[in-house]
């Protein structure tokens, strides 16, 4: 199976509560919290599309879109 390729991190800033869970448990340290405590995919080129951030977010605020 080909590795999924990242298309976009969809971050719902209205829903994100800045808990930092996705940031902490991202294996590639792709994510960071900005000044407003909302998550941003700063190092998105490192993303391996494991979707752990999406699966763990308590607020359903982050979604990984991959290219098919």
């Amino acid at each position: 199976m080909a590795k999924p390729k990242l298309k976009e991190h969809h971050i719902n800033r209205d829903w994100c509560k800045g808990c930092g869970i996705c940031v902490e448990f991202c294996p590639k340290k792709v994510l960071e919290l900005d000044k407003q405590d909302k998550v941003v995919a700063v190092h998105f080129t490192n993303c391996i599309c494991c979707k752990l951030c999406e699966l763990r977010c308590p607020d359903l605020a982050i979604e990984i879109e991959t290219e098919l």
Binding site: K17, C19, G20
Partner: protein
Amino acid sequence: MAIKDYIRERFFPHIWCPGCGHGMVLNALLRAFEDLAISKNEIVMVSGIGCSARISGYVDVHTLHTIHGRALAFATGVKMSRPELNLIVPMGDGDALAIGGNHFIHAARRNIDITAIVMNNRIYGMTGGQYSPLSGYGTLATTAPFINIDHAFDVVELAKAAGATFVARTTTYHVKQMSELFKEAILREGFSVIEVLTQCPTYFGRKNKAGSAVDMVKSFKDNTTPVGSKAKLESPGLIERGIFVQKDLPEYTREYDKVIERAMKKR
């Protein structure tokens, strides 16, 4: 269907605190629904009262938000009269095992086909941090300002002894396992109990100096081990997670069909 198709988007962002584990349970449950591709009309979610119980408001299925501790009794009525429906009952630890303890053991004993999820944050979140029957000896709570001298239930042992035919435990760190367990429980016929160790950073975390939500989730990683692992022998303090019971016994509503059959012969 995407997971967003299973939620009532207009109520988001939800009411839970930042980092509350209840949202992670919701997340994993939605993924289980999505993977199973169950029709929303076939699911009835019944909850009691507590932060955890608010989960029912967010899921676009038939939802019954009831009274504290009694969700399983309501669910029993729904299931008895419409056995073809899929009953999911998420409960807080106080909801399930303090005020609702009696309904819990009796629903398990009957082996009625319900998926019971115990969202165990070891505290009463909604009422502001009082100890629950799962807080455990030595913890602190607003009602245990010096030390909690109440011993905790072991949900797995309790469910086993009461007769549940599927018993599992996982944590909010192990979200993939959580989804898988939910799926198995939903597909199985009989009373299933999944205990999810989840974090209440706001009350349990603060009272017990357990750190942030992130720290608490990390501790679930560090303090648990797969059921039957060697690590448990070396460090007996580790909490086991995984499937503890999985057995096929006649399900209650099917058994009642036999009662109907017998009764009809006697007409």
